[in-house]
Symmetry: C2
DNA sequence: CAGGCCCGGTAGACAATGTCTACGGCCGCC
DNA sequence: GGCGGCCGTAGACATTGTCTACCGGGCCTG
């Protein structure tokens, strides 16, 4: 595979592999070019700046995350509340499994240099979250958007704090699932 | 003031000012040295590596945050639940007001290069959080540590997602307070 | 009081990186 | 058949982090 992909796609792919294998600090423009077998100036033809290439890689991560969420939902449909729990688990697993990717995806300087509209890529996922929250919680207050936002923030916070071990240090826990369950029931009420 | 501070403290201070005024990308070792009026090799006497200087600056941020929390608690004592809300507000305000500092404080590579025990600096704050949660929630399940962890994660997530505008984009909100209130009542029950 | 030592800072070098510019080859098209 | 535009090369430049050699002056020691 990957036989006749253009250089642009190859750069994104190689950069992604580098990110996943060697960590975010290894993803330099020149190293990507080296591994792609081109000169250090070549990427500039497709990505005028280093940040734009990183944004493209991050974008790739968002679509991968969305795919995982969708496939998880497809194979085990259930109550909205159960589906939200599934999404949450996929989210946390993604953050823990593909740390570098996740970190890159939420780098503020990438999100703010919005040429590639990175944020827009995460919007459909949030919309799905909001819809499921609206179904799982019939009460009108607080509005589903607010609950969904708070829940997303909670997921994100758990993922981050867990990933770098702050929570294990503070709580002595060896597993983020109790935290996740606490967050889910806090925002959505008890399961089933 | 700052008349007879040693170079070590001056580097931390100048670096912090640089961080607050010009953003995280401006905080280079050489620029700090320049602004401190010393040669580019001077910092090495006190900080063997760039990351260690950054860690010291981040540490400074944690002590500042702790000071703000304590002063807020001192001037308006109330029920544990109200105090938690105060802490949360201070936390979010800190993250929004001193963005660069906050970002630096939670850079995983700083937290992981634990020579300076950066994480330990945030521990007392978390302990305070846990104690207040235990007082505000008499129920034994889930344990206070878990609730405190989930709440902290939620605060952190709100601060992050809010800071780079993802939440305003997704929810159209102009104020993070509804999210914060939703999170607080979700984890701690309704106010007063 | 003299001499050596070490602390704290200087200065230069080095590799690596991101960005910019000039160049070249190769393709297809008129 | 020539020619123009796409795509990649190659070299330069400033900047950064780190390393090493150096040095000046104050302090302790003899």
């Amino acid at each position: 595979m990957h036989v006749d992909e253009g250089l642009r796609d190859r750069l994104i792919r190689v950069g992604g592999e580098l990110l996943d294998h060697q960590g975010p600090s290894a993803v330099s423009l020149r190293e990507i070019a080296r591994r792609a077998g081109v000169s250090h100036g070549a990427p500039r033809r497709y990505f005028p700046t280093h940040l734009e290439l990183l944004s493209a890689i991050a974008r790739d991560g968002f679509t991968d995350l969305a795919a995982r969420v969708n496939s998880a939902l497809a194979e085990a449909p259930g109550h909205p509340r159960a589906r939200l729990a599934d999404i949450a688990r996929v989210y946390l697993d993604f953050a823990a499994t593909r740390r570098g990717r996740y970190e890159l995806m939420f780098r503020h300087d990438l999100l703010e240099s919005g040429h590639l509209r990175l944020r827009d890529t995460s919007l459909p996922l949030f919309r799905l979250l909001t819809d499921l929250v609206a179904q799982a919680r019939p009460e009108p207050e607080p509005p589903a958007q607010v609950v969904a936002g708070a829940l997303w923030a909670n997921l994100h916070g758990i993922a981050q704090l867990w990933n770098w071990g702050s929570l294990t240090l503070a709580t002595g826990a060896t597993d983020p699932n109790p935290l996740l369950d606490a967050a889910l029931t806090a925002h959505l009420g008890p399961a089933a």
